[in-house]
């Protein structure tokens, strides 16, 4: 059984543009993704593809003006608002994106210790700081005294000490030096091997490939493909979705060919397949209806042409 299942999740924001005219921003559309215990799922995609909002939706900390539909299940049961309140911070934890997520007026050691739900908090915090090469005086510092990399390591520490079942890491690695990135990724792998499920939201496909089991590719607020990590090789011939292939080929270490066009405006999404306007394989049919997510070769894809 999957520990976390997200089914047909849609999130939209209402915006009033002059008078009573409303504009709906569909930031996440029919998103489906599952997370297994003992597995690392990397979520990759361009900025603005709704990756962080997915994390916030799972934890139930979306802004109050967000409208949400679809279901999120945790350990087999629906994750209602009340259940979200009960499990967040204990069973599901977040590694947030930036130093702004640390209380500016609280010493960082104390902030990490808050996350320890059982046992000796101080020992757990010192141990994890040591592991991330944070010197012992760092625990008495305030967030403004940390470098970007130190702040990331602190944020990471808050999740690592929590002994949660699910860790959702939202861009945990930028700004850290390579040695620490390796350490952090190893740590994720180690936690996953001990039965934890990790969702790693990242831009860094290369790092993700080293430790993840599966990769979910995001485009314009939906998952276009979920593929085993082994499918990312060569020219992307094993990949299923045209966008995944294009993304793979756009990487500097591969062909370095950019995809033409840009992601659709969330307030004016195409009526059919979201990628159709930029897709080389697009046919008339693609513009008519949104393709369903379907299983294909040990992965999932949202494209009628994929084989």
């Amino acid at each position: 059984m999957s520990i976390l299942e997200v089914e047909d999740l849609s999130i939209s924001f209402k915006q009033y543009t002059g008078g009573l005219k409303q504009k709906h921003h569909h930031v996440i559309t029919d998103l489906t993704v599952t997370l297994e215990a003992g597995e690392i799922l990397a979520v990759v995609g361009a900025s603005g593809s709704g990756k962080s909002l997915l994390a916030h939706a799972i934890l139930g900390i979306l802004p109050s003006n967000a409208g949400m539909s679809g279901t999120i299940k945790y350990a087999g049961d629906e994750l209602t608002a009340a259940r979200q309140r009960a499990v967040r911070g204990k069973e599901i934890v977040l590694v947030p994106q930036s130093v702004n997520y640390l209380d500016p007026l609280m010493r960082v050691g104390a902030q990490v210790r808050t996350s320890v739900k059982q046992g000796d908090a101080i020992r757990a915090q010192r141990k994890v700081f040591q592991r991330y090469h944070l010197k012992s005086d760092v625990e008495n510092m305030y967030p403004f005294q940390l470098s970007g990399g130190m702040a990331r390591r602190t944020l990471l520490s808050t999740a690592m000490v929590s002994e949660a079942n699910v860790i959702i890491a939202d861009e945990p690695t930028p700004g850290m030096d390579p040695a620490v990135i390796v350490e952090a990724l190893h740590h994720f792998r180690e936690l996953a091997d001990n039965g934890c499920a990790v969702m790693l939201i990242t831009h860094d496909i290369e790092s993700a490939l080293k430790i993840a089991d599966k990769i979910a590719v995001f485009y314009a607020g939906t998952t276009v493909e979920v593929a085993p990590v082994d499918d990312f090789f060569g020219n992307g011939e094993a990949l299923r979705h045209p966008y995944s292939k294009a993304l793979w080929r756009a990487l500097p270490q591969n062909d370095f060919i950019p995809i033409r066009g840009s992601q659709p405006d969330p307030s004016a999404l195409p009526s059919g397949c979201l990628f159709a306007p930029r897709c080389e394989k697009a046919t008339l049919e693609c513009g008519q209806a949104r393709p369903e997510m379907r299983n294909l070769r040990n992965g999932m894809v949202r494209c009628i042409h994929a084989t």
């Binding site: 916030h56 934890l59 900390i61 309140r85 967040r88 911070g89 204990k90 934890v93 977040l94 947030p96 930036s98 702004n100 997520y101 640390l102 209380d103 500016p104 007026l105 609280m106 808050t114 996350s115 305030y142 403004f144 005294q145 808050t158």
Partner: protein
């Protein structure tokens, strides 16, 4: 570390004193010029109703005696040097040294202002916090309604209203003055003084609460919308615990600064409230001095109020410095 902090606070206070000295010199000079160029004739103000009996020669003699025929800068220097020795001159209305009057009035006003200040600070802060934590509920709406209404109410009007209701209709409090009329000074008890203090203090607090509450509410809403509060919620913190751990410390500092910076408003409010309640404080003395052309007293009061406001701001800076780690541990001023 502690030694370093102490040394820095010492330096801070030294810098502030220099700044205060320059500020005072500037204020003295500007107010002196203003008064010199105002229609107030010091001789007429001094002589008052007996003006008709004084001939032009005599007036010239008085002017000469006071040095009024000297150039303005000489007059300023002679007034300034007297000031430096602590001599603020003699009040023309009260025929007593200005320093003595200010001292006596200040004690009255100080009690009134501090009472109002503490009350409005604490109650306003609590109201702002409740309002922000319960945003969009009826409690919030009620507090907002109260604050907007009170923030647009003139102090003197509310003072009159208080007088009508509590002093005239209900008869719970005296109609005015700082002590009961017709009682010898040595027979006035503390209870009497408090009894006379309640209405003016209440008037000032009721109004002061509105500003503090609205500011606190907005600031706390900003804090609650911040990413660190979002992260705290993501970690399972909620309700009062969340406020205590993250809200209070982030909202307390701006609140404290605001509270000390409000010293000037306090002074302004006290002038009006004291006038309405005939409360013998600095505010009332200022109005008197202005209306009756008592130059020495007016200048003394200007200096005194400038000092008062400046001290408030210095305290705010100091508290910020001691409480905010971002200032304490990085810049060291």
């Amino acid at each position: 570390m502690n030694k370093r902090v102490n040394r820095h606070i010492g330096l801070f206070l030294l810098l502030k004193s220099v700044r205060m000295a320059t500020l005072l010199v500037a204020i003295c000079f500007i107010s002196f010029l203003l008064i010199k160029n105002s229609p107030i004739d010091p001789i007429q103000a001094y002589i008052g109703a007996d003006m008709l009996k004084v001939g032009p020669e005599q007036r010239e003699k008085i002017a000469e005696h006071w040095g009024l025929d000297q150039p303005i800068i000489v007059q300023f220097v002679s007034w300034g040097s007297a000031l430096l020795t602590g001599d603020l001159g003699t009040s023309m209305i009260y025929r007593r040294p200005v320093a003595e009057i200010i001292h006596e009035r200040f004690l009255h006003s100080f009690v009134l202002m501090i009472t109002a200040w503490v009350l409005s600070g604490i109650i306003g802060f609590a109201m702002g916090v409740i309002s922000a934590m319960k945003k969009d509920t009826w409690v919030d709406k009620f507090i907002k309604w109260y604050c907007y209404t009170l923030a647009s109410t003139p102090t003197f009007w509310l003072g009159l209203l208080m007088l009508i209701v509590f002093a005239v209709w209900l008869g719970w409090f005296p109609v005015g003055l700082g002590v009961p009329a017709g009682v010898l000074a040595e027979n006035v008890t503390i209870a009497d003084r408090i009894h006379h203090l309640i209405l003016p203090a209440m008037t000032l607090s009721v109004i002061g609460v509105a500003n503090v509450a609205l500011h606190t509410r907005q600031k706390l809403l900003d804090v609650l919308a911040s990413e660190y509060v979002l992260f705290a919620r993501a970690r399972g913190e909620h309700g009062f615990g969340l406020f205590w751990r993250h809200g209070l410390r982030n909202v307390a500092m701006p609140a404290i600064t605001l509270q000390f910076a409000a010293f000037s408003e306090l002074f302004g409010g006290a002038v009006l409230a004291e006038q309405v309640f005939s409360y013998p404080g600095l505010g009332q003395a200022t109005v008197e001095a202005g209306l009756r052309g008592d130059v020495p007293l007016l200048l003394g009061l200007v200096i005194c109020s400038a000092l008062f406001v400046f001290v408030g701001n210095v305290i705010a800076d100091l508290i910020y410095y001691v409480l905010d780690p971002r200032i304490r541990e990085r810049r060291m001023i």
